[in-house]
């Protein structure tokens, strides 16, 4: 069994009475792209800082290739950080910013210049070398920050909210750039973000954090918090009533619901929660066959940009949410109180163990 590259073993960080990280264990293999995701205050940035050595763990151990590094000072570690606001040195020009890490390692001036030039070319900022960092655009600053971190050719790159400071159109482009960069370099990326879509778009593994703990390290949500945080979801309570070749049948207040089986199916009679993302539910005027269909009435509509959330009142008095585009809604000409049919495919729901 090969030694894992980075192990976070029961890490905790307390600032006085305040608990930033409660108990986090996580292993990262060489070459992975791991995203730490969660709302603000969940401890993800603190975790990143502990890996960089900028904060000392209150409890637990960090191991790099099996060796404990808790006491290693930040400058002895090899985990350059791309800061959220880039932290470029304003009194050094772009080239000297990028050369900084090499200078600290005693690399002679000529070699430094060459390496820095290589990386600047790679990021398309070769012409900016002599400029002051205060005159750059947001995208340029980020590339300088990336070059500065990568010029020392580390085995691990840390990124703190890399996309949050960018304009929306740049964000999307940068996402794919980072993924491409990761593939090219083959080193480990650990990235912190509050955006679900970013995390899932870029990373091979996502650790979802809340209140200083890891809730789930996977693509599928495992508990209620994750389900409610990650996107707009419906949570339907039911009991497993039948298991067959196509999946499970749940008995619920809304009637019988089919869902596809994923992994080990729970036993008959187990109470479960079924998660159905709101954007997987479509609205029909009348029942058709195929899929789960629930009769409901339109309760209210909520408009955010070009997305409309329709709140439906179900027969048993419960609520279902569906998200549709503005165009779809306009085509349907919905009125409040209008009876509709909410439908989703069994493959689109998934189970939460209670």
């Amino acid at each position: 069994m090969s030694v894992l590259m980075l192990e976070l073993d029961r890490l905790a960080k307390h600032f006085g009475r305040q608990v930033a990280v409660a108990d986090v264990s996580l292993s990262v293999e060489k070459g992975e792209f791991v995203a730490l995701m969660g709302p603000s205050g969940c401890g993800k940035t603190t975790l990143l800082r502990m890996v960089a050595g900028l904060d000392q763990p209150t409890a637990g151990e960090i191991r790099l290739w099996g060796r404990r590094i808790n006491e290693d000072e930040p400058w002895r570690r090899d985990a350059p950080l791309v800061w959220q606001n880039y932290a470029l040195f304003p009194f050094l020009n772009v080239r000297k910013n990028i050369e900084f890490g090499l200078k600290q390692r005693g690399v002679p001036a000529a070699a430094r210049r060459k390496k820095a030039a290589e990386w600047m070319e790679r990021f398309g900022i070769g012409a900016l070398g002599e400029r002051s960092t205060t005159q750059l655009s947001g995208g340029q600053r980020q590339r300088v920050a990336l070059a500065r971190a990568l010029v020392t050719e580390p085995e691990m790159l840390l990124l703190d909210e890399p996309l949050s400071a960018l304009d929306p159109h740049l964000k999307v482009r940068m996402q794919s750039e980072l993924v491409r960069l990761h593939r090219e370099l083959g080193i480990t990326f650990i990235c912190v973000t509050h955006s679900q879509s970013e995390a899932f778009a870029m990373a091979s593994r996502v650790a979802i954090l809340n209140d200083g703990r890891v809730q789930q390290v996977d693509r599928r949500s495992a508990n209620r918090f994750v389900a409610e945080f990650v996107g707009c979801n419906n949570i339907i309570a039911g009991t497993v009533s039948k298991i067959d070749s196509t999946g499970l049948v749940l008995a619920s207040a809304l009637g019988e619901i089919r869902t596809a089986a994923t992994g080990a199916a729970p036993a008959r009679g187990t109470p479960v929660s079924l998660i159905v993302p709101a954007d997987r539910i479509e609205l029909l005027a009348a029942p058709q066959s195929g899929g789960n269909e629930i009769a409901a009435r339109v309760a209210t509509l909520e408009f955010v940009g070009s997305i409309v959330t329709v709140f439906l009142e179900t027969v048993d008095g419960g609520e279902l949410r569906t998200q549709r585009s503005l165009q779809d809604i306009e085509r349907m000409a919905l009125a409040l109180g209008q009876p509709v049919v909410a439908r989703w495919s069994p493959a689109d729901g998934y189970l939460l163990e209670i």
């Binding site: 060796r67 404990r68 808790n70 006491e71 290693d72 000072e73």
Partner: protein, 293 residues
């Protein structure tokens, strides 16, 4: 591979060394060359002078003597009186100009005037007082002009008025500066709101501008008080040192009387007075206004 414990200890020691290197200078220097002399000053109030030599002692004689002396009482009251008067006068005189600089002048011009107000700070104060002495003297510009016009000369040198004029030279630049900054910081929308609610200019000043700038205005008055209370030059050269102020008393006791313990007593009473006055004035400046619902 260094053992973890050794790494831990070395890392912490280096960090401590770094912190101590930068933290020590201020502490050491200020304690040694400020706290100790000041403490020594207080201690010396209890020493005595025997046969013209300063001897360590513990006696209340100096305190009794100074606090009981009528010349001390009159000097104390005189100094207090003049400083309070100057503080008030400077605040009142400065206000219209500060108001003009804050409200009636562009930001750039204001910056220029503020820089100008910093100039007196870098001139020699004794020389300025000397110049005033000339201007106010019997043969000076003021009296010469009065004589030319046919009026009787004004006798100024050696009077409290001259001392106050000297004090104003010291205090006005600071007070105008601080008041300007305080008034410039008043939220203009509040002023406009008052105007919008039928409040006349003058009433707006009283009910909006002054309360908003209360902290800055009080602090500038406190500054003027502290500066003038301890001044030695103006009362000496313009006021003729009769009656003397506390600072003149101290200088006299030290240089000619050589009675350092008594000088120290006067100094300590000055410090106590200043501390009390500052506590009152800054308390007034920073307390929350009453009547907030």
């Amino acid at each position: 591979m260094r053992p973890a414990a050794l790494v831990r200890r070395e890392a912490r020691r280096e960090a401590v060394r770094f912190a101590l290197f930068w933290g020590a200078p201020s502490l050491v220097w200020q304690s040694l060359f400020f706290l100790v002399p000041m403490g020594f000053l207080v201690a010396m109030t209890f020493w005595s002078v025997r046969n013209f030599r300063l001897t360590p002692d513990f006696t209340l004689a100096n305190w009794k003597f100074v606090l009981g002396a009528s010349f001390f009482h009159s000097a104390y009251l005189y100094t207090l009186e003049l400083s309070l008067l100057t503080s008030a006068a400077a605040s009142i005189i400065a206000f219209p100009s500060a108001y003009a600089l804050a409200f009636a002048v562009s930001a750039r011009l204001r910056g220029l005037f503020v820089s100008m107000l910093l100039v007196p700070f870098f001139t020699s104060y004794p020389v300025r007082i000397y110049a005033l002495e000339i201007i106010l003297s019997p043969k000076g510009v003021i009296n010469r002009t009065l004589a030319d016009v046919g009026l009787a000369p004004i006798h100024l040198i050696g009077t409290p008025t001259a001392t106050v004029i000297g004090y104003l030279t010291l205090a006005l630049p600071v007070v105008v500066l601080l008041q300007t900054l305080a008034l410039a910081g008043v939220d203009r929308t509040l002023v406009e709101a008052a105007h919008n609610l039928h409040c006349s200019r003058v009433r707006t000043i009283a009910s909006v501008v002054l309360p908003s700038a209360r902290t800055g205005l009080t602090v500038s008055a406190a500054f003027a008080f502290v500066l003038t209370f301890g001044d030695y030059i103006a009362p000496l050269y313009l006021g003729g040192s009769k009656p003397p102020t506390l600072s003149i008393l101290i200088a006299d006791q030290v240089k000619s009387g050589n009675n350092w313990p008594r000088a120290s007593v006067v100094a300590v009473t000055m410090i106590v007075t200043l501390a009390a006055a500052l506590a009152v004035m800054l308390g007034l400046a920073y307390r929350n206004p009453k009547g907030r619902s």
